[in-house]
């Protein structure tokens, strides 16, 4: 009699265990079914493919040497769906290095917190208004918190006509 009831209790326990294991398994499965697509959609920007077409800036033949000149370029935004291109500033800097003129296409995005820097005539430097970062005329970070020099837009020259695309490279 005692053996029988113990056997029964064991059986009940295993039945109970089966149900608990099923609940856990089904619960995990439900979470996975709901969670996997959500995690995928959250991560999708990391793996998205982007086009970066060349964009006309201007004829830069008249840009004087040693004076950073700002051009507003409407760069297409490649994140998300189609929206109008966003105006960004490209600083064209011509430098006279040992008799040879070098041309830089500096991004005006501060490397510290990505605020917009501008060429300050009095300081003779690029100044970031957010946290006071300073860059020299060739984009080298010379003061304040910026950790790196200003990035440069990939560019190509067709005669004197400058094109850039939304790809940034280090100095």
């Amino acid at each position: 009699m005692a053996d029988h009831s113990q056997e029964l209790a064991k059986q009940r326990l295993s039945r109970r265990r089966f149900m608990i294991m099923t609940i856990n398994g089904v619960g995990a499965g439900t979470a996975l079914l709901i969670g996997a697509p959500i995690v995928g959609s959250v991560l999708s920007p990391v793996f998205a493919k982007r086009r970066t077409p060349w964009v006309l800036v201007a004829d830069i033949g008249q840009v004087p040497v040693g004076v950073p000149t700002a051009y507003v370029v409407n760069l297409p935004i490649n994140e998300g769906w189609a929206v109008p291109p966003v105006p960004r500033t490209v600083y064209v800097v011509k430098l006279n290095l040992l008799g040879q003129v070098e041309m830089l296409t500096l991004s005006n995005v501060c490397t510290h917190m990505q605020c917009d820097v501008h060429w300050d005539i009095n300081l003779k430097a690029f100044l970031c208004p957010c946290h006071g970062g300073l860059y020299s005329i060739d984009g080298t970070n010379v003061g304040g918190p910026p950790p790196w020099p200003l990035f440069r837009y990939q560019h190509k020259l067709v005669g004197n006509t400058l094109y850039v695309r939304n790809v940034l490279t280090g100095a």
Binding site: V42, L43, P45, V46, A48, R50, A70, V72, I77, N78, E79, G80, W81, V83, P84, V86, P87, R88, T89, N108, H112, M113, Q114, C115, D116, H118, P129, C130, H131, G132, G144, P145, P146, P147, W148, N166
Partner: protein, 406 residues
């Protein structure tokens, strides 16, 4: 329930209202029988709350009222606002110029947020000074800190939604800060922005975080905050125990014997189990709560009508003469960005210093574990806390000086 023979009511009125009053009373009885409203109301309203220091306790309920105000005004801002980089600014500009009442609603949402942050700060200071975070209320302090962090998150995500210049540059800096997280930072920035650069998905993401993700976490956590409050009784402050340490054993025993439910639900230190002087939650505490909350909502309303919510020019990533300034409650953090320059120091200013501060705040109940609650008798926690508060104010002042003298 109203009965026709209530004192102070004339027989004529009773007779006239009878056709309405009787079915109403019957309906109430029918519903009550099935839902137990009366029992619930009794449980909610007739809890024992402290008589002393109860005006200071009204800060918690004021926080709740303003959060409800934020949720309600937020719901109605959605009647016009469009979460799109091309239309968000236009929709708010429409409100500001063509819909005066909606502009007031928007103003109340902004000033509600400002007042909410101040009141949460005061609520936190009150809890800290009075030693209410001590055993058995440690977990409720932690829940409170989490709620505070969520409200800060709501504040900063809300500041991005107008997509004017201020909003755009706030979004730029906030999403770029995460880029400095070692290893995962760049991914996280892309997840938050919807790509390496700001785009249309940046706004929809922060919109979703602001109106759904954070509130969906905030509301249940508020529920937990209140459940824990009720479980431990609303008398954690030292003022509810004044003289307890010195009173004779018999007096204390008598006080304990007279103690009524719901305290001490979890007696910790016998001296702090039974408060000295109590009153019913309704109406004595509700009266104070209502007066304080009304005063605050009135301030919010007046600021919304008189000052309103600013809307700067539409976001323009190419503007060269714009000086971005953070919301005032992020000034200390913004100042840290200046004080920790260069590549390897930036994560220290961005994560390590605020991280240590937040961790210490969460650990307060475990750093100060003595049963002593009287603020003057625990200088070892009061003095560092005072310095931490002064440090935050000092950093904010430095940031103001920097941003407005540039």
């Amino acid at each position: 329930m109203s009965s026709p023979s209530q004192p102070g009511r004339s027989a004529l009125v009773a007779k006239l209202t009878r056709p309405v009053a009787r079915p109403m009373a019957a309906t109430y009885r029918w519903v009550d029988e099935r839902m137990g409203i009366s029992d619930l109301t009794h449980q909610l309203l007739y809890e024992a709350t402290p008589r002393r220091g109860a005006w200071a306790y009204s800060l918690g309920s004021a926080t709740l009222i303003i959060i409800v105000l934020q949720i309600v005004t937020g719901m109605f801002l959605l009647w016009t606002y469009v979460p799109s980089t091309t239309e968000a600014w236009e929709s708010l500009n429409f409100i500001e110029h063509h819909d005066e009442f909606a502009a007031i609603v928007r103003g109340m949402h902004l000033w509600g947020a400002y007042v909410l942050l101040i009141i949460i700060g005061l609520h936190m200071i009150r809890t800290f000074v009075s030693g209410s975070y001590k055993k058995p209320r440690e977990l409720n302090w932690i829940v409170g800190v989490l709620l505070f962090l969520m409200v800060l998150g709501l504040g900063i995500t809300g500041a991005m939604l107008p997509w004017d210049q201020a909003a755009y540059w706030t979004a730029i800096v906030v999403t770029h800060v995460v880029d400095y997280i070692p290893l995962l930072g760049n991914w996280m920035q892309q997840i938050l922005r919807g790509g390496p650069q700001m785009g249309p998905e940046t706004l929809t993401r922060f919109f979703a975080i602001h109106i759904w993700l954070l509130p969906a976490l905030l509301v249940p956590l508020i529920g937990l905050h209140l459940v824990l409050l009720r479980r431990h009784g609303e008398h954690g402050s030292w003022v509810n125990y004044e003289g307890v340490e010195t009173e004779p054993e018999e007096v204390r025993k008598e006080r304990m014997a007279k103690a009524e439910y719901p305290y001490p639900a979890i007696p910790s230190d016998p001296g702090y189990a039974v408060p000295v002087d109590l009153d019913d939650f309704f109406p004595s505490q509700v009266f104070k709560d209502a007066v304080v909350s009304f005063a605050l909502v009135l301030i919010i309303f007046i600021m919304a009508v008189v000052v309103g919510a600013p809307l700067e020019r539409a976001a323009n990533p190419a503007a060269l003469n714009y000086v971005p300034t953070p919301e005032w409650f992020f000034l200390p953090l913004d100042q840290l960005l200046v004080q920790f320059p260069q590549a390897w120091m930036i994560p220290v200013g961005v994560f390590v210093v605020p991280g240590i501060g937040t961790t210490l705040l969460i650990l307060v109940p475990f750093l100060d574990r003595s049963p002593e609650r009287e603020p003057w008798r625990r200088p070892e926690v009061m003095v560092p806390a005072l310095f931490a508060t002064l440090f935050l104010i000092f950093e904010a002042l430095l940031a103001v000086n920097r941003l407005f003298n540039l």
